[in-house]
Amino acid sequence: MIKGKVWKFGDNIDTDQIYPGKYLPLTDKKEMARHAMEGVPDAEKFIKNVKSGDIMVVGKNFGCGSSREHAVVTIKGVGIVCVIAESFASIFYRNAINLGLPVIECKDIKLIKEGDDIIVDLTKGEIVNPDKNENYKGLPLSGLELDIIEANGLINYLKKQK
């Protein structure tokens, strides 16, 4: 179960907005986290106030564009513990799983508002909004995806397999 406060973003947020290309040479994760969502217009409030344990709820085609993992690293780096999207671009989705960032696809994201406190059940693909007494159905993760998330990413997962 994941519990957290919601930050909302729109459709087609691309990887250049999540993590601008000029920062690609950076390798230090803390340094990378300083630039999360820097290219998204009107993201100042998020950048200033995002806290560890928060959840992002986003629109269609989130993470479209480049294959850069930095986009996941930077989102994880600011403390986001789960991203819920109407849909994901597939490379971002895979990168998130492989780096241990839980991601859920859910068609009802419009019912979730910024600042809501929500609870996510990855196994069932269920999202609960207790203050509003609402439940949303998302796509549950597959067995392999859950195993990788549980290991906190592909590296640890493969270490265990070795």
Partner: protein
């Protein structure tokens, strides 16, 4: 089965696969550029001493060549050391060009195979009937370790293209038009198959434009129907092509949908800021003043693109106040463009001819935009801030539109 299903069935050792099924596929080619540095760090963490097969890994530098800063210089150094340590045979350093052009040229791109690359535009290789797609660096570390990767078998959209292009209209225009119609997520996690008489008439270089840009509508893979042209090209470049595999979808293959387009009356198209699906005919965008014109990239930096531009720029001058950058996609193209006299034409017209690489396309170096500046570009992305300032503007168009606009100083109808 569709071609995507056939290749995944073969790669996972199954007789048949169906869309939605998760398969573990054997990888034939694993490609990385500068981000091999991120891959090798993840690989070290996994802790196996040797990569699964050093002959199936292809590495080169294209994003930042020559190194534009100290951090990149160190990145290049670490990768060179890794290449030596692991005995990786296919390493081209910075003397080859952009990965998506170099791999076909050097015979690493073959139909019926699984090719993964740590670059989103790896879809380009689908133009040769290759199941090719972009993956992240950590996932590539997994491939280097096991030689395998999981895929969810995608559904397939077939796109049939008919008609003959008007003069000055090309592959770039039809694919921008298609992306405009389908949207930036119109093919999310789908296999796309291009076929029809217009596609059959296209050169290999033009077909690569379709597969390259299909990434911008979310395609997982983007095939162009394999024909004698493909086989001739691949045979010329590679000795390893398998002759026993049938590279086309079966006649009874199951398509999610079949779309038809006719190019007969299509005019040149422009993708306007800040998304690739914001597509308009050039007549609706003409007159937009430009500061920079960029000809190059894995989309449109091939010899036929440079030829179109050289014909337009021959004896002409780039408009005052405009800078034009020309970046051939590979060394092979660079050399041929020189031998054919195109580079001389560009230089005399006042363009800056740069070394092959990705350069300014991703805002890495060699032509970054300042606030308020406008670039018309043959590249594949116009996201906000992609080429520099988040207050700059990138318009995507064909080599013909970009070259014509460089002369007039504004986006120009041909």
């Amino acid at each position: 089965m569709t071609l995507a299903e056939k290749i995944l069935a073969r790669a996972s050792g199954k007789k048949e696969v169906t869309p939605g099924e998760i398969v573990m596929a054997k990888v034939d080619v694993a490609m990385s550029h500068e981000n091999a540095d991120v891959v090798l760090r993840a690989f070290r963490q996994i802790g196996v001493p040797k990569v699964w097969n050093p002959d199936k890994i292809v590495l080169l530098f294209d994003h930042r060549v020559p190194a534009e800063c100290e951090k990149t210089a160190e990145t290049h150094k670490r990768i060179r050391e890794f290449v030596k340590e692991q005995g990786i045979k296919h390493f081209y350093d910075m003397q080859a060009g952009i990965c998506h052009q170099v791999l076909p040229e050097k015979g690493h791109t073959r139909p019926g195979e699984v090719l993964v690359g740590t670059d989103s535009h790896t879809t380009t290789h689908g133009a040769f009937g290759t199941f090719s797609t972009g993956i992240g660096a950590t996932e590539m570390a997994g491939v280097w370790t096991t030689g395998e990767i999981w895929f969810k078998v995608p559904t397939t959209i077939k796109i049939e293209v008919h008609g003959k292009f008007k003069p000055g209209v090309s592959a770039k225009d039809i694919i921008l038009h298609i992306i405009g119609k389908l949207g930036a997520d119109g093919a999310d996690y789908k296999s796309v198959e291009f076929s029809g008489p217009t596609i059959k008439d296209m050169s290999i270089a033009s077909r690569m434009v379709l597969s390259n840009l299909s990434m911008e509508m979310g395609a997982k893979v983007a095939f162009v129907e394999v024909d004698e042209k493909t086989i001739e090209y691949v045979n010329r470049k590679s000795k390893e092509i398998s002759s026993t595999f049938n590279y086309t979808s079966n006649p009874n293959a199951n398509y999610e949908k079949v779309l038809e387009f006719d190019v007969t009356s299509l005019e040149p198209q422009v993708a306007c800021p800040h998304s690739v699906d914001n597509v308009k005919p050039v007549s609706e965008v003409k007159g937009v003043k430009i500061n920079q014109a960029l000809l190059g990239s894995c989309t449109n930096g091939r010899l036929e693109d440079l030829e179109v531009a050289a014909k337009i720029l021959n004896g002409k001058k780039i408009a005052k106040g405009v800078r034009m950058l020309v970046i051939p996609a590979s060394w092979e193209i660079y050399l041929k463009a020189m031998q054919n006299g195109y580079l001389e034409t560009f230089i005399k017209a006042g363009a800056l001819v740069l070394n092959p690489g990705c350069g300014p396309c991703l805002g890495a170096h060699q032509g970054i935009l300042g606030a308020g500046e406008v670039c018309v570009s043959t590249t594949n992305r116009n996201f906000q801030g992609r080429m520099g300032s988040s207050e700059s503007f990138v318009y995507l168009a064909s080599p013909a539109v970009v070259s014509t606009s460089a002369i007039t100083g504004e986006i120009t109808e041909l």
